[in-house]
Symmetry: C2
Subunit: 367 residues, 2 copies
Amino acid sequence: MPHDDLSGAILTIGLDAISANYKLLCKQAPGATTAGVVKANAYGLGVDKVAPVLFDAGCRVFFVASADEGIQLRELLPDVEINILNGAPAGHEALFREYRLIPVLNNLEAVGLWRAFCIAQNQPLPAALHLDTGMARLGLPPDELDRLAEDPDQLKGFELRTILSHLACASDAEHPLNQEQLAAFKNALSRLPSATASFAASSGIFLGPQYHFDLVRPGAALYGLCPLTSVPNPMAQVVRLQGKILQVRDVDTPQTVGYGATHRVAGPSRIATVAAGYADGFLRSLGNSGCGYLGGVRTPIVGRVSMDLITLDVTDVSPKQARTGELVDLIGPDNPLDQVAIDADTIGYELLTSLGARYRRTYVGAG
Amino acid sequence: MPHDDLSGAILTIGLDAISANYKLLCKQAPGATTAGVVKANAYGLGVDKVAPVLFDAGCRVFFVASADEGIQLRELLPDVEINILNGAPAGHEALFREYRLIPVLNNLEAVGLWRAFCIAQNQPLPAALHLDTGMARLGLPPDELDRLAEDPDQLKGFELRTILSHLACASDAEHPLNQEQLAAFKNALSRLPSATASFAASSGIFLGPQYHFDLVRPGAALYGLCPLTSVPNPMAQVVRLQGKILQVRDVDTPQTVGYGATHRVAGPSRIATVAAGYADGFLRSLGNSGCGYLGGVRTPIVGRVSMDLITLDVTDVSPKQARTGELVDLIGPDNPLDQVAIDADTIGYELLTSLGARYRRTYVGAG
């Protein structure tokens, strides 16, 4: 959509970095197959660009959230395994067969519906089974697991390809729930027929080999987010966001900046207005909190983030550099995604998936 | 993009409500022309649908942020006035002429560039002049206004169609900055050649006729947001967001819900998992704070908002209603956009512009 050069901000996405991250994750879990999670348009980065790169790096198993996303991915990659985390909506089983989508069965009702469809078609189509071990979100709760273990015939008539569960607190390596969930998952596996076992997402991969099982399924780490809060980020940075300066003003007399007059300039200073705002996914919570970098100098966001604009204090930057048309790093080498997320009081995942449509998107690296 | 019926959430946009809001705003400022602000893809609602509705309601003057948006709008509406708030990037003046885009000149440098272009072309093309009266964001600062007033020849060679400024605190009717800015704007107008004067956006329209001048330019109020914090919302609601229940679980034993285990279920309760998350613009800050409504019953969001999912406590809803496939109002008659924004610790503007791409979008009303 954006006209070349007219865009106020440039989002550069490193496909080579995504490929390198995939390979690093494979090495980190050498005993397991490494799937790729590309839901939410590959965490906002463009599934049409990202999925082929993962395929070229060796990825053959994918996870998305919805059937819509699965259909889109099938058109991109005809020969991979595609799992649909939200399962098959009742009545749409034939669509799953048509596009060879593997539903993640999240409860016994879904198990029954998929089984009935497969029996009616006389086709043992594959499915994944999701056990809830501590999220209370999707997946069979403990009582349904009991009922399934007591009557395993409920799994007959289709191919139980994968059994998975999901960690709630994996980014915190010391959280006691990790071990509790691990024990619950192992116990559940012992009570069910054999299948590919999958437990770890990005963070879980770094909790150690006992969390890896047969299949790991990273998303966030592929896109450069730090998998553990307690260690330096081992992943390559994927995203750079640069905003263009529209105007620089000298403020000599005390005055306020932006909506709500939340920032007051006391002494002489220079304020740069940059063309990116919360409508571009540059979250409003970054107001008076985040920063940009210009020529290696930190330039604090002053005042509120507007819909299309932010204002930065560029007093410490040389006037030759802080001028109309120059690019400011809003996410970049000096302020990685995870740090910007902290400034915004959220997580890098939200920042990634909210990156907006008005940026000029540039993909770099072979892929 | 989303397949019919497969989407996890449905966004319904009332075009008739937008039309009604435009007409109400016209009545509220009877002495002025009412423009329409459709930047950021009409605040996320789809400029291709919204702009023609405003045109049919009588709107002939539009504002967008960037030239990209202007070009898109020109293709939709060949015969309206389109103002570009971020101005013309240097070197792109010919593009503005080609698409008949009116640059908002935000500083003297921009004034000089536009003037030089018009003189070189021997065409007095229209432009708007933006004076900063208290935002310190875009617009001529006071010293540049002084220089312009002293040497008004800088405005010769092009058509000065509009002079505008922007209020920083207009949603708070009692804020002293409103009157200060008004005085500064009036004073500035008295020092410059005559042109269409524009001061009020949505909120300013409700501050009284002295704020109206010749042209008002609402955005937020068109889309149903409340223009003043101190009064009941006079605008018609435009947006309804309904999320589909994927799964309902009974929780009998104490356990935690979601990432980070931030919510603990103490007694027997039922948790519904709904297919909408922060990747859909359902902001993560709604975790443990916002709510949905099901059959008129408030269902609190429990635990964190995930990328694709939220979890609601539906204990108070009849089990017949709280079941897989049912729709929960996430934004709707019981929880209007402004209230959801308060729950998310932000403003309705951010919520609107972040509404995501995975929803099934349904437009209702003639337009």
